[in-house]
Symmetry: C2
Subunit: 247 residues, 2 copies
């Protein structure tokens, strides 16, 4: 049995939420550390991390088993690790397991890319400047994001769901069981509907499989989503600025 | 024995080069397909990809073994796959092999992030607009990138190399054998020195381990780097605009 500590910013769902969803869905407990000084200490080039390479940024996951401890950072790496542990890696009967695992990672990365691009829209000139100091560039970025990128991502994931050959009744990206790729896409969709409600409504047709997908995942995650633990979107990765999403 | 086909844009090194370095370093042959119509066909939401999920973008790797074929996309996923096949995953004596593999992936992702950020500097408002249409935002992005981000990445990777506890004489990120993380960092450094020569010179001290690292990797890769096959940087992922990197 392993135990886990997640180091991430307080309050915002952010990239930490992709990881929280994996724990919540798998019903595995973890401790979350939000103290800013701990986070800064772990990401400082001065800290001694024993046998771990340095971390560029949070989220960081600490894994303890017996008397061994190691740490991982980079959202997609943490997710791939947990997917394997929690059997969220798309395992299905009669299908090459190794290839499926790589395909789940591929779709996970693309769903994370969508979130990254949504972040870059409100911070086009970099993460170290305030939104208020890059509003004009953000307006340009948002225009291209709404016109070109949102529709491209929407069509991509619609295709992934409809071409899933194991599809029975359920809308899933790979196989018929929920994988880490589904959880990440769900969270990215939630963030996009929060940040760009008008653009999303224009790009996602009323009969899109993405709407059915979103409903099914919300149903599977309902206890957590309705709990006080679920963090609300505010000014993190996904942000709603009305001027970036006109009706 | 597997055979490989890499689908990527013609001419530019781009994200394909991270993958080419893995093949070249491991001395494994592969076929490269650069025909634009093939690439467009593989990334179109209309194409039938048999048992593969859709691809959002190139690079795409096709793997054939016996009579089975599958495809992977997302640079970091392709690299993780090849690292395992080609033993570029940081294997060392007396160290937990699984944890090492995740650490190699973590460092690979951060080196790819550095390349992504360098790309976003010349395309802050999105990949679907020309540089010429976003020059002012690019100038702002470049300023923050030179001032804050380049030094942060430099210090991060210096720390990774110096804290590598298996370090003997060689400068490597994990262990003392070249891993996929080393190859990706090498390529990102080459791109950054091409795109931002002045900023890099200011941020990398003359006695930095990164300079020794770069020399050692160049030596290991010398046959390929000096061959006609090695693609020169031009207007791809890494671009040199003098106005974005003043002396």
């Amino acid at each position: 049995m392993e135990s886990y500590r997640l180091f991430y910013w307080p309050q915002i769902p952010g990239r930490g939420e992709f990881i929280r969803l994996a724990f919540r869905f798998a019903n595995v407990t973890f401790e979350e550390i939000n103290a800013i000084d701990s986070l800064q200490q772990l990401t400082s080039p001065q800290s001694d991390l024993a046998n771990n390479p340095p971390h560029f940024a949070v989220p960081i996951l600490e894994v303890t088993k017996d008397n061994d401890t190691f740490m991982l950072s980079q959202t997609s790496v943490i997710l791939a690790y947990l997917a394997q542990k929690f059997r969220l890696d798309g395992e299905q009967a009669n299908v090459n397991k190794e290839v499926t695992r790589w395909h789940v990672q591929q779709l996970t990365l693309t769903a994370l890319d969508w979130a990254d691009e949504a972040h870059n829209v409100h911070h086009p000139c970099g993460p170290t400047l305030y939104y208020e100091d890059q509003k004009q560039a953000a307006a340009e970025a948002a225009k291209a994001f709404r016109k070109d990128r949102i529709p491209k991502f929407v069509r991509h994931f619609e295709k992934a769901i409809t071409s899933n050959s194991s599809l029975t009744q359920a809308c899933r990206l790979i196989g018929d069981k929920t994988s880490i790729a589904d959880l990440v896409l769900f969270q990215s969709l939630e963030g996009l509907y929060f940040a760009f409600p008008h653009a999303m409504q224009k790009s996602v047709a009323p009969n899109s499989v993405l709407l059915q997908f979103r409903q099914e995942l919300a149903q599977e995650l309902r206890d957590y989503l309705h709990s006080a633990d679920r963090r609300r979107f505010n000014d993190g990765l996904f942000r709603h600025y009305p001027e970036l999403d006109p009706p």
